[in-house]
Symmetry: C2
Subunit: 451 residues, 2 copies
Amino acid sequence: MTKVQISLDVMIQSLLESKKYATLRDMLVTMNPADIAGVFLELPSASLPLLFRLLPKELAADTFVEMDEDCQELLITGFSDRELKEVLDELYVDDAVDLIEEMPASVVKRILRQAAPEMRQMINEILKYPEDSAGSIMTTEYVNLRPQMTVSEALQRIRRTGVDKETIYTCYVTTPDRKLCGIVTAKALLLSDSDALISDIMEENIISVQTSAHQEEVALMFNKYGFLAMPVVDQEQRLVGIVTVDDAIDVIQEETTEDMEIMAAITPSERPYLRTGVFSTFKQRIPWLLLLMVSATFTGMIISSFEEALAAQVVLTAFIPMLMDTGGNSGSQASVTIVRGLSLNEIQFKDVFRVVWKEFRVGLLCGLVLSAANFVKLLLLDRVAITVAAVVCSTLFVTVLLAKLVGCSLPMLAKKVGFDPAVMASPFITTIVDALSLMLYFQIASMLLGI
Amino acid sequence: MTKVQISLDVMIQSLLESKKYATLRDMLVTMNPADIAGVFLELPSASLPLLFRLLPKELAADTFVEMDEDCQELLITGFSDRELKEVLDELYVDDAVDLIEEMPASVVKRILRQAAPEMRQMINEILKYPEDSAGSIMTTEYVNLRPQMTVSEALQRIRRTGVDKETIYTCYVTTPDRKLCGIVTAKALLLSDSDALISDIMEENIISVQTSAHQEEVALMFNKYGFLAMPVVDQEQRLVGIVTVDDAIDVIQEETTEDMEIMAAITPSERPYLRTGVFSTFKQRIPWLLLLMVSATFTGMIISSFEEALAAQVVLTAFIPMLMDTGGNSGSQASVTIVRGLSLNEIQFKDVFRVVWKEFRVGLLCGLVLSAANFVKLLLLDRVAITVAAVVCSTLFVTVLLAKLVGCSLPMLAKKVGFDPAVMASPFITTIVDALSLMLYFQIASMLLGI
């Protein structure tokens, strides 16, 4: 894929320089919109408006949707009002909303001025829902049927209005007061008698989401039920829009990236890494580093308060990194597993005792094996005194056990009190486990070594 | 959702005890297969066969597909040969393959014996592809059209054969030697004249994958192109199957979970956490903990070799945790960002210099802010000597910078040489950065403090 793209943008660049527009157009129309947008990204921005104008209207609009916001803004700025209107007329309303949400205010004004009145109304409708809600990612362009229609009337309606709908494969049956009363798939329509009634073939056990549902919840329902589209209803069960599976996949990827960023102590951003400026990346990372640095100084204070003991037994210092790292790793294993389970809905708060009991046993096993391995190594390789080995290994055992328990329970508690469990991943667990393990270490050392 | 399920399984349990089978059946048929499977999971296994037999044939098969492998095995063991055959006849072939891949050998034999000859042949076809390849997740049940058909002939064919196809919304046009020559959507069929030729309305710029492509690559293409199904071809471009979007979503979730597990130093497993035994979880975690523990002892050796210096300046010990943790966190931020970018194809190896240059600048900024903040704290709060503060802060600065550089470059190198970049996430980066930062610390200390 990459290799082809690399040679493609060089080729396109040189065709452009020699003004072979017909050839360029012939080449571009064989390509998929997502690939064209990919090639555009690699080209100097000055050539974009010219290339874009070579595309046939529909392909141009589809390509426009796939571009990143910088290319989009660049193109819109260069568009005449008529050109802007042409692109807008081809967009689905949810894509138009995405565009508006990412453009600066002056561009938004121009877009809304050029959009057809009906489109403008739909855009404003969707814009009023909170960010990341089902309402904000839905489209209002769906096929609407009535229960008393026949299959052939329904098919006729699809033929008449289908071209502008985001999907025609799932059709929504509503009552005159816009309440959703059934769902008919295009498959059911095609496989039924043409004079069958919609009310007879429609699925009446409807799974839908509220406009206020979080987009992550909607995406998980696609994962669970395998739908191609999901109806979005208001509090009175009136159908207001649908979410399609391609948008659900985007949400899944976006939410997962967000989870991973939070777990790595980064403030999430919606822009891809290579399109984010150095200063923005810095701002995503520095607050957490500062916060965690301050917490780590508490661990340092524990060491300071045992300075005399350490001076008497400097050998103990050498095992601090091993204890801290092993504790941190044990804790992360548990916390990352639980955070992921929670976000896939595989684990719920009611499972807290099963989880803790399981981690307790896993922690026992891991702690035993790690401290036994370490004990042998300390005696045979490092040749330390047996009491020192005992201090290190018993600390290791308790640390691993505690790390597993802290690692599994903090994300569940966070979920329970309404925080994002991902915050309770590696960095925080590590900081907490570090402090715990050092306190244990010196406590056990003072007991066993009498310092 | 959860609340409803909890009360449901209590209700079902009590209806079952009072033998209200008609009521149970009426209740179950209003439910979605995925929800029925969810309720079954909460019920005592002894009641499953009875409940399952209450379901109408098609719903029974759909529910069966949604169950976890333990429930499936339990049911199959209780099935008569006729019952097994009935369920198998309703399954799509890719679901049958999933089932076979997870059942023990004795159950597999029974399944293959009861499967219809045609189904058995398709199953064996798919089973020969390597695990996690496009071939292994595809289905062979697609709608096949010929270029010379008219739209009405195509629709007739869909009506006749469509009920057994996994999707009818994307139809595949092949030549007599089975080469894929075009794609027609059901939307195009419905919106075209009934006597138009398929060859005139089909899309000829086909995006397809090879049978050997990795499932993750296939899933990313769904993400990029927004398809509902993707054709899978062999090396001669003959169509052998299709992958549908619902399976692509499963792959995305599965691969992401795997990435996260590897990043947290866990050997990935395909079973959900709560369905994995304590000993299996232990085995997923202990090898990495042992390996990382051994690497951490190198860090300990660095401390040992500076034991005398430390004995002279015990105050230096107190800052070891802060240096190690901050270095580890800085490195993880970079590595997790890059690992995720690589797996979404947002970053490629050719971007390595852009990435390193960016991380260098981000590292400079982070290092400056962190060491400045620390310097002030060391002088004002901890009241250490200015030379000690200088040692700690210059070490911190260089550590953060190095951590960013190591964190971003190791995953890219891993990708380049064909390893999984996720292995180069937090734990490994932390271990490397720990060793680096301590070496620096003592080097700088011996220079500035003359110890």
